[in-house]
């Protein structure tokens, strides 16, 4: 493909060939599912197998941390890249999060840049974690602000690095419109925050009751799809309207707040959480549950003409309802299967006059 075939206008046409990175996580799968009816050619790539099969999508096993991803972007001749392979709330270690967020994005940008690139539109998932959370922060974060605390948590630093790379890319490649979506904290999937709020007794930082702002999974996917199908260059905060206090959220979830974590020294609180509740609270989330973090989404509303359908309270209500249903329901099929196996083994062992072996070891 030569450079003559490139459109002269900066406004790209409707996306034709779209690559979604990180399609195997729930958000990526949802975005791909919503994009499929609107896009002629849809490609998806991830390290893991996709969770749900999508007939309209071509799936490729590819790791963004590898340089080959740039070649993939060029060979597939995609005109739109939806970069969702950005880890924010992940049980993996700091090193691999840094590799995925910074190096992975760098490889994607390498594939998009240069005169031989075909990419006209780049949508990158970022996070509210980029602002950090601290006592000196204003009540609302707008897009032009950055983290003021130093030293910043590692995820915040990685996201700042990543957005720095994207800003440089956007300046150098004027023909490509770049949208960065700073998504709010989500609790609908199996996130750290959801696990923390689901505890029966929730340890909180003594003397603090911060405001939480959340984002529903559906709203996150909808915002990204709207960014892909529309033309909205820039950085956008995406979060639910309204706030909910941490104590309110815990009460809605049916738990009980226990203000036992020390108010100073967030790392002691994190260690205590790990020891008491087996919740691996990341540093940026520990700051959030101490001081709270709320974004101002007026720019998104003005530019997209759309705002999140769920309020923060509705998000937490939904989570509480889901949790309740999960508990009310009968044991899920795998558990039932295990139970059957266990009972069968026990019966057999009784017949033979032996003790039953633990079922877990039998399955190893």
């Amino acid at each position: 493909m030569t450079s003559e075939s490139r459109p002269e206008t900066l406004t790209p046409a409707r996306p034709n060939r779209v690559l979604v990175t990180g399609v195997s996580n729930p958000l990526g799968a949802e975005v791909a599912r919503r994009l499929a009816p609107h896009v002629p050619h849809l490609f998806g790539c991830d390290r893991k197998d996709p969770t749900s099969a999508l007939e309209e999508m071509d799936f490729v096993h590819a790791d963004t941390r590898h340089v080959a991803i740039g070649k993939l972007v060029r060979r597939l001749k995609v005109d739109t890249v939806v970069h969702l392979a950005v880890m924010v709330d992940s049980p993996q270690d700091e090193r691999s999060i840094h590799e995925t967020d910074v190096i992975g994005t760098m490889n994607i940008l390498a594939g998009c840049s240069g005169p031989s690139g075909h990419v006209r539109r780049l949508i990158v998932k970022s996070s509210q974690a980029i602002y950090g959370a601290g006592p000196t922060d204003p009540s609302f974060f707008s897009e032009d602000m950055t983290n003021s605390e130093w030293p910043a948590p590692s995820v915040t630093r990685d996201l700042l690095d990543m957005e720095q790379l994207i800003t440089e890319f956007a300046v150098r490649n004027q023909s490509c419109s770049v949208s960065v979506m700073r998504l709010g904290f989500r609790v609908s999937e199996d996130t750290t925050l959801a696990r923390y709020l689901s505890l029966p007794i929730v340890p909180t930082f003594a003397g603090f009751d911060p405001r939480l702002q959340l984002l529903h999974e559906e709203d996150a996917a909808e915002a990204i799809v709207r960014a892909v199908l529309g033309h909205h260059p820039g950085v956008f905060n995406v979060a639910a309207g309204g706030v909910v206090l941490l104590s309110q959220a815990i009460a809605i979830m049916g738990g009980r707040p226990a203000p036992i974590l020390p108010p100073y020294g967030r790392w002691i609180g994190r260690l205590a959480l790990r020891a008491l509740a087996r919740v691996e609270m990341q540093a940026h989330l520990a700051d959030v549950i101490a001081f709270g973090s709320v974004m101002d989404c007026s720019k998104l509303e003005a530019e997209f003409g759309w705002k999140a359908a769920y309020t923060s309270r509705a998000v937490i209500d939904g989570l509480a309802r889901g949790k309740t249903l999960e508990v009310i329901e009968a044991p899920s099929p795998p558990q039932e299967y295990e139970l059957q196996v266990y009972l069968q083994r026990r019966r057999r062992a009784n017949r033979n006059g032996q003790r039953a072996a633990p079922v877990l070891e039998a399955h190893r």
Binding site: S139, V243, G254, F291
Partner: protein, 344 residues
């Protein structure tokens, strides 16, 4: 929004019964139970009879039953608030109006009986719409803010909540930050001020900041520098009139004779005061002295007649800031003359 009731029922059904249900205590006798139920009424009846007897004996009101009713009302309100559970709304700044109103009745007692505040010019505070209250700041702890809030809520024909801006230093403190946020205060950041004014709120700002509260007793009623005039620029941009407020009496609640700067630096505080009672008497030293207060709300300075671009005109901004400062200083001198004595 889901139906709170059904969700609650589901939640109750979902949890093991021993967590949801309170442990049954020892079974009380029926007569004890009846007494427990009727105790508040009996106590009030006894008190009223006692007050009548005391009036007959001494010839004046020893027990004021209105005060007793106020206390009972406060307790009742707190019980009601506890019954809300999580079913209440806070605004985006974390302000809970119902909860704040229940506490304002406590501050009203301080306002009326302890400091005997006389408020003038309350008609200058608009009943609706945005306005920026600018006040002098004094006393080691910011009691003047709570008294201005109480004055507007208790004395104004259309009670309104004043949203004060506090130094971001206090937002990192446990308990205090929680209390300040919940009662409607927010960080002293230009963006926060603008957002509050755009929502047509009454915003209270102390341009002197900790320089005002941390000044010694010998400097009382001498205004410090008014920041860099940022409050004027914000008011012009948001189109809000500025209402200067002079507070007299707040300087005498903690007469600060010295400031231990090294201790303050070690504790991360802006100042560490030494008063005749603090820190010698321990927590008792934190009880403020019962000085006589006067609060005057001055006529509004209509900065909103300037176009928003005027906020960048430093000359105009500084001139307006000086005008506000002079009004407040003059108001302080006037009210000091009207006061008969420090504690009268």
């Amino acid at each position: 929004m889901i139906e709170a009731k059904t969700a609650k029922q589901r939640r109750k059904a979902s949890q093991p019964a021993e967590i949801v249900k309170p442990r049954p205590g020892p079974e009380l006798m029926k007569s004890v139970k009846r007494l427990q139920r009727q105790a508040p009424l009996l106590a009030f009846q006894g008190l009223s009879e006692l007050s009548v007897r005391l009036r007959q004996l001494t010839g004046r009101d020893v027990i004021d039953l209105n005060r007793v009713m106020e206390v009972a009302h406060f307790v009742y309100k707190q019980q009601q608030l506890a019954r809300r559970g999580p079913n209440y709304e806070v605004d985006d700044f974390g302000f809970d109006p119902q909860w704040t109103e229940s506490f304002l009745s406590v501050f009203t007692v301080l306002y009326r009986d302890y400091w005997r505040v006389e408020t003038t010019g309350i008609e200058n505070v608009p009943a609706t719409g945005r306005a920026l209250l600018v006040s002098n700041h004094a006393g080691v702890l910011p009691w003047d803010g709570t008294m201005i809030k109480t004055a507007v809520f208790a004395e104004h024909p259309h009670p309104r909540h004043v949203r004060a801006l506090v130094a971001n230093l206090f937002m990192g403190m446990p308990m205090l930050s929680w209390f300040l946020r919940r009662t409607g205060q927010t960080v002293g950041h230009p963006d926060d001020t603008r957002r509050l004014l755009e929502r047509d709120e009454l915003v209270l700002v102390f341009p002197e900041g900790v320089r005002g509260t941390g000044k010694g007793f010998k400097d009382r009623y001498r205004l410090r520098r008014f920041g860099r005039g940022g409050f004027v620029a914000t008011a012009i941009k948001s189109g809000a009139p500025i209402i200067p407020v002079s507070v007299v009496g707040s300087e005498e609640i903690y007469p600060m004779v010295a400031d231990l700067a090294p201790v303050a630096r070690f504790l991360g505080l802006p100042y560490f005061p030494i008063t005749p009672t603090w820190p010698w008497l321990g927590p008792l030293g934190m009880i403020p002295l019962p000085s006589k207060w006067r609060i005057q709300f001055h006529a509004p300075i209509h900065v909103e007649k300037h176009p928003p671009e005027a906020a960048d005109d430093n000359n105009l901004v500084m001139a307006l800031a000086d005008e506000v400062r002079d009004t407040i200083q003059q108001g302080i001198y006037d009210n000091l003359k009207l006061r008969r004595g420090v504690f009268l």
